[in-house]
């Protein structure tokens, strides 16, 4: 899929933080949502609440909380963990991460690693099929869009289409992400432009 991936960074070193931010900026499709310095209270909760796709962690930033936090994160499905690791990083720490960003790497290598870790397709869609999938609205999403531009609430849409309100909200998020359109009136223009709704249908 080619929609935006949300990244959270846990890093307390200012220079490293700026460096990682710079790398993420160079990759379209990745969005740095928030940076934590690792010393926040209830950090695990805060991380999860942001619903990230990817978390980049510098183990040093977590200090002695590293094991407890990383163990819980490892159990979260759907979150990719990337370790920011020096070459002297002990095995019992590095093995906790599926993907590594080597501190000693040059820019080219780091960008490549980051791209791979976030899923190649996230940044530059590689095959035609995934590219089309990520761009076009699914039939379900078009149904939802039709209801949204009528000005219905999430609850109304859920009732009309026999969906849970949570599902409706997820669809809406995906629609906005695919189209890069955030407001209802913006979606309305899109729907009219593409003949998804008729101007006469609108009140």
């Amino acid at each position: 899929m080619g929609a935006l991936k949300n990244i959270i960074l846990v890093e307390n070193n200012f220079l490293l933080r700026s460096g990682i931010e710079g790398l993420i900026l160079e990759l379209p499709g990745l969005l740095l949502k928030e940076v934590f310095d690792g010393k926040e209270k209830n950090l695990y909760r805060k991380l999860i609440n942001k619903k990230p796709d990817v978390i980049i962690i510098d183990p040093n930033a977590l200090g002695h909380n590293f094991i407890s936090i990383i163990s819980k994160l490892q159990e979260e499905a759907g979150i990719m963990l990337i370790g920011l690791l020096g070459s002297d990083c002990p095995e019992n720490i590095s093995s906790r991460f599926k993907n590594h960003l080597p501190l000693e790497g040059n820019k080219h290598l780091l960008l490549q690693k980051l791209r791979e870790a976030c899923g190649k397709d996230a940044v530059y869609p590689t095959n035609k099929k995934t590219q089309a999938d990520s761009r076009l609205l699914s039939a379900r999403e078009i149904d939802i869009l039709r209801e949204v531009v009528k000005g219905l609430t999430n609850q109304d849409i859920a009732d009309n289409l026999f969906l849970s309100i949570h599902t409706v909200m997820t669809h809406r998020k995906n629609i906005s992400r695919k189209l890069s359109i955030k407001t209802v009136s913006g979606l309305m223009v899109y729907a009219l432009m593409n003949n998804i709704v008729d101007i006469n249908e609108m009140g």
């Binding site: 189209l179 890069s180 359109i181 955030k182 407001t183 009136s185 913006g186 223009v189 899109y190 009219l192 432009m193």
Partner: protein, 247 residues
């Protein structure tokens, strides 16, 4: 970069030319010479602390102007915000409207997408005007009367009951985002605006200008809201505490 009083204003503009309309609002125009910020402000009787906090808020998203908050009268902020409003509604919005109408003229009346985008922008303008009007007719007058009442209370100890009915937290709570729709308009233009015109070169040229104006206005408005949320609101909160508690 943190902008400080001993920097030359020219260097600052070299570094971030988006600040030009901002300094204009302080009646400083290009050709201002070689002076430092402090010198230029003193020459023109501009409050340096306030000038710096506005420049920094515009320049750096991370900047939080708390250190300067106490040092200037709130009427300065209001004066600045009003000037910014008229810049948006008297200059920027008409410029954008003009570009859209040029595009419509170039493509004939039948470009459906363009007509939809144009209606979308007109709706936006109405909402935007309502946003500004609310600030100018309710919020800013409230703040100014509070400032005045605060000065008088120090003299006679009396409290104006009218002022007790409103609070800046109401404004803070429903101060809506005015840039979102501009973002959508950019998306619609970038992704879906078809090239249907008798003069494609001209059409492309004007679309580009229009897009650029939208980017600039979107950025300006988000900085403007930050000034309202980060400078005006906390400042007034402090004033309210002072006024409403001590009776």
């Amino acid at each position: 970069m943190l902008i400080v009083r001993e920097m030359k204003l020219a260097d600052v503009i070299h570094h971030d030319y988006n600040l030009v309309p901002v300094i204009n609002r302080f009646d400083i125009s290009l050709g201002f010479g070689d002076g430092t910020i402090r010198e230029i402000c003193e020459e023109r009787d501009v409050n340096v602390e306030f000038f710096l906090s506005i420049l920094n808020t515009f320049h750096d998203v991370q900047y939080f102007p708390k250190d300067y908050l106490k040092s200037f009268p709130v009427s300065l902020i209001i004066n600045y915000l009003r000037k910014a409003h008229s810049y948006y509604s008297d200059e920027k919005i008409p410029e954008i409207k003009l570009l859209i109408s040029k595009l419509i003229r170039l493509s004939g009346k039948n470009n459906k997408t363009l007509n939809l985008i144009s209606n979308f922008f007109n709706d936006y303008c109405n909402e935007f005007a309502a946003h500004l009007l609310r600030e100018e007719t309710i919020v800013y007058p409230y703040v100014l009367s509070l400032e005045k009442a605060l000065a008088e209370k120090n003299d006679n100890g009396l409290v104006d009951m009218e002022l007790m009915k409103y609070s800046i937290t109401t404004y803070e709570a429903d101060h809506e985002d005015v840039e979102e729709k501009l973002f959508d308009m950019k998306s619609l233009m970038i992704k879906y605006l078809p090239l249907e015109s008798s003069d494609n070169l001209m059409f492309e040229e004007i679309s580009y200008s229009l897009l650029r104006e939208l980017f600039v206005l979107e950025k300006e408005l988000s900085e403007h809201s930050r000034i309202e949320d980060l400078i005006l609101v906390p400042k007034v909160e402090g004033m309210e505490k002072h006024y409403k508690s001590g009776r």
